[in-house]
């Protein structure tokens, strides 16, 4: 026996750890990330530095900086996103405060309606507001008949309006979560110091929930900054960056991939900058709170209670109107694209006859994607939580990239990367499934890591010590115990996948069209009835999925 004083080399120290089952999983995940996130992103950046003749140049960026056309789009994007965020806060915070602090009625119903309006695709909201407030919308017509002329929904104000109603639920969900766990003794301390209720709210409560509020605001800003459908449908002349990128890429004159890439890079730079800005602000204003005493729900007298309930219901109703409108519209009798009085199933008959493939496509691609997302998401979560190392920390960062890549940008980057050898995927359904996985898997991963943090590591070690190899142990114990937690994120991945438009619109071709792109083209060709029928199918699927999740999870708090 002789003492070894030299430390074994790194490769030897790692040998047992790395090349087991999890080592291979890590490798495969890295291959996937490199191929479908990193490589497309680099292709996108590379393309943005070449002019039409394939010569390296900064011309695209110079064009962007000098041409008003492009600069305006950037300004438009910031304007609508900023305003939408502002109004979403204005609606979302009071909604959260009222429903968490006062005994208003119908809380459960409002909660699920708010979530419903959040997960329905933005373009469905935009579309139904066109049906109501468009140039030929039924409210517009009704008001015109009685002599009132209102501005139609088209234009910047319409985009902001739709975004606000669509996205304030983010603020509501984040803030009501924070308000429920805030340490109420801080508020009581302020009260004992003689602060009025309003000042208390402004000087204590709001600063305490600020980090959470800013996370919600970030979600609103990012979603509206990246959205494609809404500005496309009701922006008309008012163009935002994602639209411009899309138009540059898919233009009838052949398209300008280089300029589209440049715009995409600008988009990513903006979203990244905003993400870091939010992180920076929060890091300076984060308070550790030990919410030992959570706030009580205040019992109101009948009249204030009635008024607050009414107010909250009014907000929720307005935000759910689009869904209702779409569903009603889908049943209206019609001849060709023209609506008639009375109800019928004409629109449904027509879509079954004309675009059955889109329905099949949506469900097959989404089911395939969600299965992969759940399996891969659980494995990735396991690596991130249980196999912490520099390698997995890097993986975590790469997985953040889809957050800052708008759907349109992801679509463009995938096409640029995979429309030429060595790997050609453009025009296949595979590229759609890949896009869905990359974009939507973060929800599943997030909920999977959350549940894993709660699971006792010793349980799987007990299994391994009893002679069951690590991989088998994962599937026999850990994976089974993870399922309830994973489900909450997976349901979100699922509903956002079936509703996905912004990357699909770039990546699909005739045979791989999904419901969402079909709605989009139906609306563009003024086939409102069929569009509504398709949208209703999506809404119904979404609602049923949410309800199943709601009841399966034992009516626990639904977190989005």
């Amino acid at each position: 026996m002789q003492a070894k004083t030299i430390q074994a080399p790194v490769w030897k120290r790692l040998s047992l750890q790395v090349w087991d089952f999890w080592g291979w999983v890590t490798l495969l995940v890295y291959v996937f990330l490199a191929l479908f996130i990193v490589y497309p992103l680099f292709s996108l950046m590379a393309t943005s530095f070449y002019d039409e003749n394939g010569v390296f140049s900064f011309q695209n960026y110079i064009d962007f900086a000098t041409l008003k056309y492009f600069r305006n789009a950037l300004w438009h994007s910031f304007a609508v996103s900023g305003l939408a965020t502002f109004f979403a806060i204005l609606i979302g915070v009071p909604m959260a405060y009222v429903t968490t602090r006062y005994n208003v009625r119908f809380k459960g119903l409002m909660h699920i309606m708010i979530i419903m309006s959040l997960v329905s695709p933005p373009f469905i909201g935009a579309y139904s507001w066109i049906l109501m407030l468009g140039n030929n919308g039924f409210i517009t017509n009704f008001l015109r008949d009685i002599g009132i002329h209102i501005k139609s929904i088209y234009g910047m104000h319409g985009i902001v309006f739709v975004f606000t109603l669509q996205l304030y639920p983010h603020i509501y969900l984040y803030v009501s979560g924070a308000l429920k766990t805030i340490d109420t003794s801080l508020e009581e301390a302020a009260e004992s110091l003689g602060m009025s209720a309003w000042k208390r709210l402004r000087t204590v409560t709001l600063p305490l929930i600020f980090p959470t509020l800013s996370a919600g605001a970030l979600m609103v800003f990012m979603a509206s900054f990246a959205d494609f459908g809404t500005p496309m449908l009701i922006g008309q002349g008012y163009k935002t960056l994602p639209i411009l990128a899309y138009e540059q890429f898919i233009s009838e004159m052949g398209g300008n991939a280089a300029m589209a890439s440049t715009l995409s890079v600008v988009l990513i730079l903006c979203t990244t900058m905003i993400l870091f800005a939010q992180r920076y602000i929060v890091s300076r204003k984060n308070y550790a709170m030990s919410g030992m005493r959570t706030p009580k729900v205040k019992q109101l007298r009948p009249l204030p209670k009635f008024l607050l309930t009414l107010g909250a219901l009014a907000v929720v109703s307005v935000s759910i109107i689009p869904q209702a409108t779409v569903i009603v519209t889908s049943f209206i009798k019609k001849k060709g694209p023209v609506f008639h009085k009375g109800f019928s199933l004409d629109s449904y008959r027509e879509i079954l006859f004309r675009v059955p493939k889109a329905i099949i496509n949506t469900y097959t691609y989404s089911i395939l994607s969600i299965v992969i997302m759940v399996v891969v998401g659980m494995l990735v979560a396991y690596i991130l939580v249980r196999r912490k190392s520099k390698l997995t920390a890097a993986m975590d960062s790469i997985l953040m990239l889809p957050y800052v890549m708008p759907g349109t940008v992801l679509g463009i980057s995938l096409i640029i990367a995979f429309n030429k050898p060595p790997i050609v995927l453009t025009g296949t359904w595979i590229i759609l499934v890949i896009a869905y996985i990359v974009r939507k898997i973060p929800y599943t991963i997030r909920s999977s890591t959350a549940i894993l943090h709660q699971l006792d590591r010793n349980v799987e070690e007990a299994s391994i010590s009893l002679g069951v190899p690590p991989a088998k142990t994962f599937f026999k114990t850990t994976a089974r115990l993870m399922v309830p937690g994973v489900a909450s994120g997976a349901i979100l991945s699922w509903v956002t996948t079936i509703n996905e438009l912004s990357s699909t619109i770039v990546l699909y071709f005739g045979a791989t069209a999904t419901i969402s792109v079909t709605i989009y083209s139906e609306v563009f060709t003024s086939n409102y009835g069929t569009g509504a029928a398709l949208a209703s199918i999506l809404s119904l699927t979404t609602l049923v999925s949410l309800l199943i999740a709601y009841f399966v999870s034992g009516r626990k708090e639904m977190n989005v």
Binding site: R13, L16, D456, E461, A462, S465, L466, G467, P470
Partner: protein
């Protein structure tokens, strides 16, 4: 049944050594305890044996077999965790049968062996229950049954009793001890509770800061601690400053002085200079009248009545403080605060360390130390 040999095993966490040069052997059928405060490396060492960690340096053997690259699931071990680690999605029976199913044991034999194991831990009647609502004691019995049913060559227990309440702990530890002797499984047991370690173990290894401080029989560790850490960690010890002088190489003895008193003692190693004398509270004699020359003068500062014993806080003339405990004192003979007393340190029963406390220069009896390989 299996012996376990550590050959200069070192495990790093980053730059620090969680286990530092462990070098000893655990014999077949032995109940061996790793004892130490939290962060001393005892759990790390156990998990290295299990294969959840791999040491960067040194070799680990089960019997003659080198285990360094054998993954956990091939090590043939049974393990019991502090927080039970019961499979919550399985019944009691399925939990215990889990390891047997992995070993492809026939259905009939599984039935027999699981029930036998459940009977051993007195849980046969609960076989079809879901474990999640069962008490901590019951869950830990399931875990124990699950570990022994596979008849492992090695049973590893990581603080199995520390989540249980005090009474149950005492019953469970004697049950575990009995089960281990009946089954004759080499058992390695981790605990921070010295009383538990003394009660169950054949031998104990005391660890601190990744290093094995001492390995020995329970009474050896208690009576003859090899350094200040062990003396302090096991039971309570008084540390009295003194000197060692006039070392005589021929006889191996030196004069040990404390506060003007001195006594010639035979040292285990040549040493002159400052020393630390470790004295157990129960080895200190306290009397109102001076009995002999070697006694030190002091004053009672505190008197604490603890039922079976009385604990006195005594301040010596030079300001050093001692704790002395006297068993079964008649109430009327109890000493009172402020009384002047004479203290007999009974140096021959004490352990004397060099000034750093790292090494003993005198221990009461050296002959019966069968402590095996020692490091430090």
């Amino acid at each position: 049944m299996q012996s376990v040999t550590f050959e200069h095993v070192t495990k790093y966490f980053g730059q620090s050594k969680a286990v530092n040069d462990a070098h000893f052997k655990i014999e077949e059928g032995e109940f061996f305890t790793l004892l130490g405060p939290s962060g001393c490396g005892k759990t790390t060492l156990l998990r290295t044996i299990a294969g959840f960690y791999k040491q960067e340096e040194g070799n680990l053997y089960f019997g003659d077999r080198l285990m360094n690259d054998v993954p956990t699931h091939n090590r043939d071990i049974g393990m019991v965790f502090q927080n039970y680690a019961i499979f919550p999605h399985m019944t009691v029976f399925e939990n215990v049968a889990y390891g047997l199913r992995a070993r492809k044991v026939s259905k009939k034999e599984i039935e027999e062996r699981v029930m036998e194991a459940l009977e051993m831990v007195e849980l046969g009647h609960l076989r079809d229950r879901a474990p999640s609502n069962m008490s901590g004691g019951q869950q830990q019995r399931i875990a124990l049954a699950r570990a022994i049913v596979i008849r492992p060559s090695l049973l590893l227990m990581d603080e199995p009793l520390s989540n249980l309440d005090a009474k149950l702990r005492i019953k469970m530890r004697s049950d575990i001890r009995k089960l281990q002797k009946d089954l004759n499984i080499t058992t390695i047991y981790v605990t921070h509770d010295q009383e538990e370690a003394l009660a169950v173990s054949d031998r104990i290894a005391v660890l601190s800061e990744g290093r094995v401080q001492q390995i020995g029989l329970p009474h050896e560790i208690y009576s003859y601690p090899s350094n200040r850490f062990v003396a302090n960690f096991i039971g309570t010890s008084n540390f009295v400053r003194g000197t060692s002088g006039q070392y005589n190489a021929a006889t191996g003895s030196a004069k040990i002085g404390v506060q003007g008193m001195s006594k010639t003692m035979k040292l285990t190693s040549a040493f002159e200079g400052e020393v630390l004398i470790s004295v157990r509270p129960e080895n200190i004699g306290v009397s109102v009248q001076r009995g002999h020359e070697e006694e030190l003068a002091g004053e009672i500062e505190t008197v604490t009545f603890l039922g079976e014993k009385v604990s006195y806080g005594i301040r010596l003339v030079d300001g050093q403080k001692l704790e002395a405990s006297v068993h079964s004192v008649e109430p009327r003979r109890m000493l009172r605060e402020k009384m002047s007393v004479f203290v007999d340190l009974r140096l021959d029963r004490a352990v004397i360390f060099d000034e750093t406390g790292k090494e003993a220069v005198y221990r009461a009896s050296q002959d019966d130390s069968s402590a095996g390989l020692e490091t430090a």
